[in-house]
């Protein structure tokens, strides 16, 4: 079974530029998550989708971050304009459903450096 795929793996941009990250979850997984992991910290949930609907985006900085999952499969996370503090690893994850205890599988992450 293929895992969660993310691209690009690495990206360096200047502040105020824009960047987009793509995620393809495990086939058949209805729930998709985007996490932000700043160096030295644990991952923080940015947004959670159930199929193509947003379940929770309470920690997403909506003035600069946006995410979509139009067809309920793959997803894109965009940052525009980027700030220095956005330097982090962006982890995409998926689970079969939102059922309690459904295992959440993580991709390898997209590393963003803002200079």
């Amino acid at each position: 079974e293929a895992g969660v795929a993310q691209s690009p793996r690495y990206k360096i941009i200047e502040k105020r530029q824009s960047v987009a990250f793509w995620c393809n979850p495990i086939s058949g997984h209805a729930t998709l998550y985007w996490y932000q992991q700043i160096l030295g910290q644990g991952p923080k949930l940015l947004i959670q989708f159930q199929n193509n609907g947003v379940v929770d985006d309470s920690q997403l900085p909506k003035d600069r971050f946006s995410a979509e999952r139009l067809k309920g499969v793959d997803s894109t996370l965009k940052i525009q304009p980027a700030k220095l503090e956005d330097s982090a690893v962006y982890l995409c994850a998926s689970s079969r459903n939102r059922g309690a205890g459904d295992t959440i599988y993580f991709g390898e992450g997209s590393w963003l450096t803002v200079v």
Binding site: G42, L45, N97, G99, A100, G107
Partner: protein
């Protein structure tokens, strides 16, 4: 809101020695608890999870964890570590919503495990 505390930022253990990584959680109801491991440049891999029942849970790679409600703890243990266990370890709690589902994981800040030869 739920939270997780991992008191140890770094732990150094000799190869072959036993290991215990501490995790304390704060959550108003019965928690769903997880331990993940992250190797350099890699994503997070699930080691084990606790939902209910037996408070001692077994995971992959020889790890186990014990849920202690009275102490709000979920410590990870391994009897004998290997050099390949060097990694970052994260404890996490999953929040439930009233319909019975889950709202994603809340992670601790992680413990960096160093293995001495």
């Amino acid at each position: 809101a739920q939270s997780v505390t991992q008191p140890d930022i770094h732990i150094t253990v000799s190869e072959g020695a036993s290991l215990e990584l501490r995790c304390n959680y704060s959550y108003g109801a019965t928690p769903y608890l997880f331990w993940y491991v992250q190797s350099p440049g890699q994503g997070l891999q699930l080691l084990l999870k606790y939902f209910s029942g037996d408070t001692l849970v077994q995971g992959i790679k020889g790890f186990e964890a014990e849920f202690k409600r009275s102490q709000s703890s979920f410590n990870l243990r391994k009897p004998s570590v290997h050099w390949s266990d060097a990694a970052e370890y994260f404890c996490a709690v999953e929040a439930m919503y009233s319909g019975g589902g889950a709202d994603g994981l809340t992670f601790g800040k992680g413990t960096h495990l160093i293995i001495q030869p």
